[in-house]
Symmetry: C2
Subunit: 253 residues, 2 copies
């Protein structure tokens, strides 16, 4: 069966997350059912470069999909965009997948952005897109604290209790915190992340930004490897999956 | 009665516009009713620096409000944010208004941003925030065409049929068109605008961007002063009221 890659944008708000679950509608279900008409009437199997939790958004999720029809990528993109309406899921590009390519296992880099709205008044225009923190955050202190987490470490302190990864060794390539007006933006990149790692790191850095913990605290947590001590898991709605990187370039259409 | 200035952000999607109307909920009604508890139980009168139509957003609308209570601006801001929930209206700042100050008549500059999402796939993350144009737009041609509209002119060609202004003479200070990835962004500034002027200018520039009309067309329309000939009134959802400028600085809290 021909395999394709899809570059997908979605608003995570109405979904139970990327992955199919009996508890409600997932992005995966929307895509697989949108593809049914191209797949002999049955949902087409998909896999994402990285699963996202309920409420987490994506600007550049990469998904593999296998369908029985042999189609030009442009036609697949248009057909999926037509059949996925009116859900907030949009296929930006499609490509024929190279032999042996996997959206998940061929992926060599993943990037996320986390947005904190740091002001007294609640968000009106960006509701559902930001974590609203009312007390003033020191973004520079957060950035300094973040730099101690770069490199190869056991990130047990920042993984979810439910995390299913075999080990917690990960290499963090980027964790930048910058202030942009009323917003504090965290940008991070790694080959892969543990479940809840980004949101746990952001929640921990926020404690530093609020002045409740010293700049050295995130590094101490990292070295302690105890996942019960980190800051709160920052809310899903501030997080966006930005990109997935592959060694071989895909021929996006 | 003490008069205050409010700096207000709102998502225009669920509203019939800024102004009170019998046809549905307006931003004005939300604010006036939120202030009732500070005004002897009756809605407090407001006026905005510029009315916005149904679906138009604001990141920095300025509103005057008069209430019977004499309050610190911080307390007014917090009270209005509390009582305006859960509507997507947020009071960013409040200030005591100087004597004789009017949000509308003291305003000496208004700024808007118009966002066009220019790609094949429909918006998922920015649905309701952008005008979706699928065919490729030449943003440079739009920018060149726009420059011919700068300065003091009779803008009859770009006013709404229902526009109530006594004359159509306006001075356009800025009309910049730039491409930012998949987006074409129009930024404009003037002392004041006619009803629908920004959306009519954007709709007209889009015809140039699509190559359907020459770069000289907007200037020809301007000189012809015939409001039946301009491009379509671009959809409300792409438009955001960004700021109102005043001669005397307000002491925002």
């Amino acid at each position: 069966m021909p395999r394709y890659a899809l570059l997908v944008e979605y608003d995570g708000t109405p979904f139970v997350g990327w992955q199919r679950q009996s508890s409600g509608l997932s992005v995966q279900q929307v895509l697989e059912e949108a593809a049914a008409s191209l797949n002999g009437g049955v949902p087409a199997p998909t896999m994402a470069s990285g699963r996202t939790d309920a409420g987490v958004h994506a600007a550049g999720q990469v998904v593999q999909i296998s369908i029985t029809l042999d189609l030009a990528p442009e036609r697949l993109r248009e057909a999926l965009n037509f059949h996925s309406r009116p859900h907030p899921v949009s296929i930006l590009r499609a490509a024929r997948a190279p032999d042996g390519w996997s959206a998940r296992f061929s992926c060599v880099g993943r990037g996320y952005r986390y947005r904190i709205l740091n002001r007294r008044a609640r968000p009106a225009l960006d509701a559902g897109r930001v974590w609203h923190v009312q007390a003033a955050l020191d973004a520079e202190a957060m950035h300094r604290a973040a730099q101690a987490l770069l490199g190869r470490h056991d990130f047990s302190a920042f993984r979810a209790a439910a995390c299913q990864a075999k080990d917690a060794l990960r290499t963090l390539d980027r964790l930048d915190v910058t202030r942009q007006g009323d917003e504090v933006v965290v940008q991070t990149e790694a080959r892969s992340f543990l479940h809840h790692q980004v949101r746990n790191m952001v929640g921990t850095l926020a404690q530093v930004g609020l002045g409740r913990r010293p700049v050295e605290w995130p590094q101490q947590l990292l070295e302690g490897r105890d996942r019960t001590l980190a800051g709160q898991n920052a809310p899903a709605e501030g997080l966006t999956f930005l990109f997935a990187r592959y060694r071989e370039p895909l021929d996006w259409r």
